[in-house]
Amino acid sequence: MAEVAPAAARQARSEPGRGREVVTRLLRGVGGIGAVLVLVATAAALFAPWVAPYDPLVLAPADRLQGPSASHWLGTDQYGRDTLSRIVFGGRASLAVALASVGFALLVGGVLGALAGYYRGVADAVIMRITDVLLSFPAILLAIALLAFLGGGFVNLVLAIGIVYVGPFARVTRAAVMTVREEQFVEAARALGSRDLRILAGAVLPGAAAPLLVETTLRLAYAILAEASLSFLGLGTQPPAPSWGMMIAEGRRFLALAPWATVAPGLAIVVVVLAFNLLGDGLRDALDPRLRGRGSG
């Protein structure tokens, strides 16, 4: 059986050494840079109160719109608040929203996709129709519309961003489950009288793990962009809590006078999103070398 098992099934078994092999392959490429940057950003967000040099909310009118200096590395905003500290705390908000929304989409999309791929038939048709409809909205538009009607706040923000990604996760899971479900070891399990749920959890889902891991990483990048866009429009994280998108919207009014207040949070978004993109691309290559360098948009 081992000789005929294709990639998906091979991934299903956690052979010792395979995990290490993947990590080595990941770290050797640019994915390594992504992994390091993601770790740094996550650590900064987790330990924000210790990392940030100032309180992000304290107003200091005397220091307003100061340029970068030794005491304020990235300058100050129109209320004299330290830009660097606000970026660190803003990252906390961004990552929290991104993790929660992608987690939501992974859970809902994963379950729906697994059901559709495993049972096929009517369940499949209905679930896929629903994801079709969800995917018929430009992602950011659906999020904007949901927030406009539901109102803001963390939970609604997470739902608005998360619902958009349910479709893609459902599709990835469905495709992976459909490939694995015809494998011999699944048939064997079924013949032995295992329950569907057990087969799904034990044999089929591990096969979907690799593509889902890649999808999750890349969706985190999108989710951070989405949170920034929504906050930029005033629909996301609400003031005075700092968020990158809002900092750009506020700083923009002083663009000629104090470009750093806009450019610095923008660069923070670019670096963190790029990190997740590099990590996602790297993971895809490391998990499936055959796909190396193919890259899909």
């Binding site: 129709r129 629903i130 079709d132 409809v133 018929s136 909205f137 430009p138 992602a139 950011i140 538009l141 904007i144 519309a145 949901l146 406009a148 009607f149 539901l150 109102g151 990048a221 962009l225 920034a228 866009s229 930029f232 429009l233 629909l235 998108g245 750009i248 923009r252 663009l255 000629a256 470009p259 806009t262 450019v263 923008g266 978004i269 670019v270 999103v273 790029l274 993109n277 590099l278 691309d281 360098g293 193919r294 890259g295 899909s296 948009g297």
Partner: protein, 316 residues
């Protein structure tokens, strides 16, 4: 072919219905109900006036009847009236849609003008520095939010160099040159990002076709390498590109909402955002419906184009 077209068009109907249903339900998702919400803003309003407003929104009917009524009206082009100006939403949407279309059109042109050569160069130099550079630039493009790129462009070309206006809009019919000057930065903000995604697709698609048998045959016939690449391989490679660009069009429409805000372009997206700020629900509903419809129709068009340009695709 006709059967395929007919089936594909029919398949779009349930999707369109689903889209309409979601847009309709959005209005009902407002916490409390729309009328209480609106009245909360205005202060003292009599119970009679509230009942009248509820009737106006059709809120006194059972939900399925509400949907039927709303859909029926929408099919006849009646999307209700703005709660603020009293003007029919459809009239305003039709005034603003051309602005959004222009923006998306120029963005697509810019994206393709950059992505096609860049993707081809990357594929032909696979693994060497032009490829690495193109891939890195593309990945960077995927990581920049459009609104931030737009602001950087304003900073560089409007505030520093003073070459182009930072915001505003001049209708095409009024002054084509000024129209273009106002469109350039917003279109670049969207186009450069779309170019990033498209470059990756062109590259991977061309890499795949370069190893096909018929490309080897063409080369074996003694054709020049340039002819082989451009005439034989690239033609086939562009087919998936059409699909992806079609899908990206949805992102483009979504991105346009934000870019219109950045550059104060009076398009559908800005109209929707104004509606959100004023809680002008019919305006938001109409704008979202229009953009989603445009997206579904473009996808339909892409599928049909796909069938027309790829002789290998046979639909039964």
């Amino acid at each position: 072919m006709l059967i395929f077209l007919g089936r594909r068009v029919l398949l779009a109907v349930p999707t369109l219905l689903g889209v309409a249903l979601i847009v309709f339900l959005l209005m009902r998702a407002v916490p409390g109900d729309v009328v209480t919400n609106l009245v909360g803003l205005e202060g003292n309003v009599s119970t009679e006036r509230m009942a009248e407003l509820r009737r106006m929104f059709g809120l006194d009917l059972p939900v399925h009847q509400q949907f039927g009524q709303w859909l029926g009206a929408a099919l006849q082009g009646d999307l209700g009236s703005s709660l603020r100006t009293g003007r029919p939403v459809m009239t305003d949407l039709l005034l603003r849609f051309p602005v959004t279309l222009q923006l998306t059109f120029w963005s697509l042109v810019i994206a393709l003008a950059i992505a096609l050569p860049l993707g081809v160069i990357a594929a032909l130099h696979r693994g060497r520095w032009p490829d690495m550079l193109a891939s890195l630039v593309a990945l960077l493009g995927l990581s920049v939010p459009g609104f931030f790129l737009g602001i950087l462009l304003i900073l560089a070309f409007s505030l520093q160099l003073r070459w182009l206006p930072p915001a505003g809009y001049v209708p095409l019919a009024e002054d084509p040159l000024q129209n273009l000057r106002h469109m350039l930065l917003p279109a670049l903000s969207l186009g450069l990002i779309l170019a990033a995604a498209t470059t990756r697709i062109v590259r991977s698609s061309l890499l795949e076709t370069l190893h096909r048998d018929y490309v080897r045959t063409a080369r074996a016939k003694g054709l020049r390498e340039q002819t082989v690449t451009l005439r034989h391989a690239l033609r086939t490679a562009l087919i998936p590109v059409v699909t992806v660009v079609g899908l990206q069009f949805g992102q483009l429409l979504g991105g346009a909402v934000i870019i219109e805000q950045v550059f104060s372009l009076p398009g559908v997206g800005r109209f929707a955002l104004e509606g959100i700020n004023l809680r002008d629900y019919p305006v938001v509903q109409g704008a979202v419906l229009l953009i989603a419809l445009a997206f579904v129709l473009v996808n339909l068009l892409v599928d049909v184009t796909y069938a027309l340009i790829d002789p290998r695709v046979r639909y039964g």
